[in-house]
């Protein structure tokens, strides 16, 4: 790596401070601040607006296969989503996804 130890620590500190300020942004505002109804309505959809967009490229272009579509990983993603929708349970969804992936990677080994 071309970075010196001092430079690496500068990057770590800057990233740590910057990330904290992002997280603190709205929490740091006066606590009794009232939000307009439209803002609250928009914010209700933040997780379903951000997380699927983060996941989609990871599923369709997995880094482990250099970005080519991969059947075991795709099947694991589908199993996670299906069980999560069916049971409404995070743990069962994770187990279904991890189990599917482990089984298919072993079979296709």
């Amino acid at each position: 790596m071309g970075y010196s130890t001092a430079e690496i620590w500068m990057i770590i500190l800057a990233l740590g401070v910057g990330t904290f300020l992002i997280r603190f942004s709205f929490l740091g505002l006066p606590g009794r601040l009232r939000w307009p109804p439209l803002a609250l309505r928009l914010l209700r959809y933040t997780p379903v607006a951000v997380i699927p967009g983060m996941v989609a490229p990871l599923v369709i272009w997995p880094a482990a296969t250099d970005g080519t579509l991969d059947a075991p990983r795709m099947a694991a993603a589908v199993a996670t989503l299906a069980v999560g929708l069916w049971r409404g349970s995070l743990l069962w969804a994770i187990l279904a996804g991890a189990g599917t992936l482990a089984l298919l990677l072993w079979l296709t080994g």
């Binding site: 990057i11 992002i22 929490l27 997380i51 699927p52 967009g53 929708l85």
Partner: protein, 237 residues
């Protein structure tokens, strides 16, 4: 925090956060291995994990450092990935904004994808929670979600490249995110937002600095809110 109902909310948060251990353990170890292979010392790996606690941005920063990108690009890209947390901050502020400053700072430090998403789901389901109970639940959840991140990344760093690549540990991140999101898809508006997010994030993948994801997320929020408004109008007609 001495109130009995707050103590039980803290424990409930810990219990509800425990399943995320299945994800934090492999993800943290994978990060530790990658970082060590990139040439970071144990102290530097831990520095990242304690000060940043954001796996995706930590991995992105590492990748760019290995490629020799300038520090400004490393920071801009990693922070762009974390900008979504401003939305979490805004979304959790109506629930926890009444806390004293020091507690709000502590909540901000622990505000990661899983603690935010699961707490927001809980506040939605349990309408009558007090401020103290909400804070206790959130901090309880941070115990199994955030603290093991330090130890597992350290363990990964110590193990070095000893992990077998054939286990599919690389896929722990998408699986955890999907498991978080699936139970949230309760209404057509949530579905519309999720589908918009996926389609636009893929279409805008080439936009630099991860801005494509942010644009996709803003549009998806608008779509979700619009569908909700349309349904309301239809219902009252």
């Amino acid at each position: 925090m001495a109130d009995r109902s707050e103590a039980s909310a803290f424990l409930r948060g810990m219990r509800d956060g425990a399943p995320f251990l299945l994800v934090v353990l492999p993800f943290g170890m994978v990060y530790g291995v990658i970082a060590t292979e990139a040439g970071l010392s144990l102290a530097e790996v831990l520095g990242f994990s304690v000060l940043v606690i954001a796996g995706a941005s930590q991995i992105a920063a590492l990748q760019l450092m290995v490629e020799g990108a300038p520090a400004a690009v490393v920071l801009a890209t990693a922070l762009a990935i974390n900008l979504r947390m401003a939305m979490y901050s805004a979304a959790i502020a109506p629930h926890l904004g009444g806390l004293p400053l020091g507690w709000r700072a502590l909540v901000a430090y622990f505000l990661v994808d899983q603690t935010y998403a699961r707490s927001a789901l809980e506040y939605d389901r349990q309408a009558g929670m007090s401020l103290g109970q909400k804070a206790a639940y959130f901090l309880g959840m941070a115990m199994p979600v955030c603290l093991p991140w330090y130890f597992t990344t350290a363990a990964g760093a110590l193990m070095g490249a000893g992990l077998p690549p054939g286990w599919g540990l690389d896929f722990a991140v998408p699986i955890t995110f999907l498991a978080v999101v699936a139970p949230m898809l309760r209404t057509p508006a949530h579905w519309a937002a999720a589908v918009t997010s996926v389609v636009l994030a893929l279409a805008l993948w080439a936009v630099p600095f991860s801005l494509g994801l942010l644009i996709a997320a803003c549009m998806a929020m608008a779509v979700g809110a619009a569908v909700e408004s349309m349904q309301e109008t239809r219902a009252t007609r």
